[in-house]
Amino acid sequence: MTTPQQSRTSAPQVDVRGPRFGAWVTTVVLAVVLLTGSGWLLAVQAVVFAVGAFAGLRYAPYGLLFRTLVAPRLGPVREREAEAPPRFAQLVGFGFALVGTVGFLAGAPAVGFLATGLALVAALLNAAVGFCLGCELYLLARRARTA
């Protein structure tokens, strides 16, 4: 048998329900951004994404919310996953939120609405079916960059 190529085996783990909960909260926040056109609310969401992406999921605000308020009401942790995929998703979300925030605050609401709408699709897919759009796009981006 061929030797499997494996990387980063002792990576940090998170309860799978944490990122899913965070995706639901994100979906709701982004829906409110769309309904109010509030660039400042989107800016707050951008900061939330940035903390998760750059500081790590253990500091992510929605993750803290999950651990302190939601997790104690649920059963014990049944499944854990590596931190890298959901953390990368936060980075992708940060990109969309940043573009949208600049759009709203710089007087180009069309850009704001578009970026927020795309981020909402990604967040909702993540929340509802556990699909990680950013993770899928990662390979496409890597392919394109060195093509």
């Binding site: 990387s7 829906a31 927020t116 909702l124 699909f131 990662y138 390979l139 890597r142």
Partner: protein, 149 residues
């Protein structure tokens, strides 16, 4: 209140709904009929990555990245199947470090899996985490459960 936002919200919900439906119905399905695919070339490319189909009844090659959660789940599932199906071999390729092969095989999503029999024939490929029942049926058919023959 601006109606633009409400319209965008509605469109986003519809798009997400359609995407979710597509993912549920199509993603992960094993396709055996990719028109235009040069099957011999596919095997050659996989061989160049160190895949040796002649060593097992069924060789499953998974292209994965570090940021791919379903890849990890699929890997665990394959490892589990290997304990009951000794004729099954699983090879995990880090797509990021094999971009040439990724382009040659037109791998667009992770996980993408290739299924090869002992003769090196490509039985099929699938994109997205394979459905557990379909994967098990394929493994049962080509690498029957039980002690090694």
């Amino acid at each position: 209140m601006d109606s633009t936002g409400a319209v965008v919200l509605l469109v986003a919900l519809v798009v997400a709904g359609l995407a979710a439906w597509w993912l549920r119905s199509r993603s992960g399905a094993v396709r055996t009929d990719r028109a235009g695919d040069d099957v011999t070339r596919t095997t050659d490319v996989l061989r160049s990555l160190g895949v040796r189909p002649e060593d097992a009844d069924l060789t499953v090659v998974q292209f994965a990245t570090a940021f791919c959660a379903p890849c990890r789940a699929t890997k665990a599932r394959l490892t589990q199947l290997q304990t009951s199906h000794p004729g099954l071999a699983a090879v995990h390729v880090d797509a990021e470090s094999q971009l040439e092969a990724v382009r040659a095989l037109d791998v667009r999503r992770t996980p993408t899996l290739f299924y090869l029999d002992r003769a090196g024939t490509v039985l099929g490929r699938s994109s997205g985490a394979p459905r557990p029942d379909e994967l098990r049926a394929l493994v049962d058919a080509h690498a029957p459960a039980g002690p090694a023959s």
